[in-house]
Symmetry: C2
Subunit: 143 residues, 2 copies
């Protein structure tokens, strides 16, 4: 068989689902009515973003809930200009995000910054002049 | 401002971009021609999946490349039946995935399993009878 190229949901394990929900709502995401005390769902541009207790997520997967440093994962949100990256970064910090890397020109020719959510999950805000995003925030990636 | 509910790319930091690319190609994903030696792009159902050196990703974000245990992140791929979950799990193991949790009925009423990619990134294969996926693999999440 071949697995279809599909990500249905990205789940972030968090220390406090309610507090992280407030953070993401401040950022601008709308909590789905399918959410409950244990899990929050945000309808994104296709995939769903889920917030779930970190210990619960480890238990669900059957792995040890060891405390990480760098998770080895980042989520990118592409924007149409350098100014939009600056604005998104300032907005995120105003919402309580942790500053990780201020907006700057980066080695691949774009312009980006990183902030972290309350649990350290990394978000990159990026302007990529070579790969514009469509109205749904999807990159026009060649086949 | 409000940040649009958008994930453009999910980047996984990996020890060996070439080896991980082979793993994901075996699973069934097609490498975009925009890929190069440093980074691999897979066009998924909207968001892009990126593979990038773990040390490079840490450097890009400006964070320490500490070695994690549990990353606190999982990527879910939803499927239309329990049988499809069983099939996807067997396929992933045949591709060299590490078994993490064999398919089983789970507390939220669905049926799921977890495997890990060569770097331990967790993928859940899930059948959710309450939230069917559309032809693009997107959940019909209420607003």
């Amino acid at each position: 068989m071949q697995l279809a190229p599909c990500i249905t949901m990205v789940t972030l394990g968090v220390a406090d689902v309610a507090a992280s929900t407030v953070f993401y709502e401040k950022l601008g995401f709308a909590r789905s009515s399918a959410s409950n005390e244990q899990v929050t769902f945000f309808r994104m541009n296709g995939a769903v973003l889920g917030l779930f207790g970190r210990a619960d997520l480890a238990r669900d997967a059957g792995v040890e809930n060891s405390m990480p440093g760098f998770s080895g994962v980042s989520l990118a949100h592409n924007l149409p200009s350098e100014a939009a990256v600056d604005e998104a970064y300032a907005h995120a910090l105003a919402c309580g995000a942790k500053p990780v890397k201020a907006p700057e020109k980066v080695f691949w020719g774009g312009y980006s910054c990183y902030f972290a959510d309350p649990d350290g999950h990394l978000w990159e805000m990026a302007f990529n002049p070579y790969m514009p995003v469509d109205g749904n925030g999807h990159m026009a990636l060649p086949g």
